[in-house]
Amino acid sequence: MSGAAFETIASLVRTRAGIVLGADKAYMLDTRLGGLMRELSLASLDALAAKLRAPGSERLAAAVTEALTTNESFFFRDGKPFEHLKRVLPRIAAARGPAQKLRIFSAACSTGQEAYSIAMVAEQLGLLPRLEVLGTDLSQEVVRRAREGVYSQFEVQRGLPVQMLVKHFKQEAGQWRVSPALRAGVRFETGNLLADLRHLGNFDVIFCRNVLIYFDAPTKSRVLSALADRLAPDGVLYLGGAETVLGLTERFTIIEGERGVYAPVVRMAAAG
């Protein structure tokens, strides 16, 4: 692959998704984009890059971006945030009216394990009827899978306690389907975190985990600030294990004694 081809592809995913592909990631382009290249009978990454530079390449650009996302996810990932949610959700629920929905954002939701894990926590607390989880992701394919809510035997064994498996899933030809009761509390849409998020409404809790790691610092700051705009003053933000707000935004503070849990900094209303 020529340097120019790498440049074309790297700048494309950076503009479209915020994802930074270092030169050390060049090796993965062949594997990740191989399927797409075969489909289009393109012999090389250079040929693909040329096609991307030609006019009318919007759909191809979207497909290339999607192919370069990392979609790994699992149920109750990292454990701790869900234990914290279990403690904090009753407090938030009590602060709202009894008929008010509890809105939780699973940003960059991938195949939906995080959103369904949140629903399982709400169910344990008797709050499932009030729950409204919205999961969004850039990739159409993962959103389709999240909506479908069908997981392989391997996927349902990563982090999911067996009691939850038996309670919330139905076995179907070697795969496991999430129960209608959980699905009723969860919704998925395609969406880009770099785009305007205002139409999503406001949230009581935001999970934004294992996606900021792919962005450069200015993009991280921008996304964190947009998330702060969407979060209730008494709400909570969860980030992934390798992510932080430090040095990126003043709009969140660390919650003492917790890892990856942040509270919004409530700004004083301007006088007059």
Partner: protein, 126 residues
């Protein structure tokens, strides 16, 4: 030190499980069937039993029922690890007193996740 009794009639499975558990700091003993496992538990109760279902002499579910009667509901913690993957089988194991269940094939990630669910992984590994 955390210790685990690996019960499986396949030497290959016992070896693989031993390797994964020892890498996470467990002391591992092995048994080839339910009867050997009962004897091993009577000698010294392990923290965890990783238990195959289908074995000669005494199968896993029979061992499980004996163990719960003899040692109580909480100790040792018992995790099935079997190719039996039918919903009804899982329910049977849970109703007989198992704490967790692994459907084979499994790998280190699945095992680690389950150990975490059981509270048997040190925090820094979480």
């Amino acid at each position: 030190m955390l210790d685990c009794l690996v019960v499986d009639d396949s030497r290959t499975v016992r070896r693989a499980a031993r390797r994964m558990l020892e890498a996470r700091g467990f002391a591992v003993r092995e048994a080839e069937d339910g009867q050997q496992a009962l004897d091993a538990c009577r000698a010294a109760l392990p923290k965890l039993v990783l238990l195959d279902w289908n074995m000669p002499v005494m199968d896993g579910i029979t061992f499980l029922r004996h163990a719960r009667k003899e040692f109580g509901p909480d100790e040792p913690q018992i995790m099935l690890c079997t190719t039996e993957s039918d919903f009804s089988r899982i329910v049977t194991a849970l109703e007989s007193g198992a704490q967790e269940y692994i459907m084979k094939p499994f790998d280190d990630e699945i095992l680690a996740g389950k150990l975490e669910v059981l509270g048997l992984l040190p925090d820094e590994a979480a």
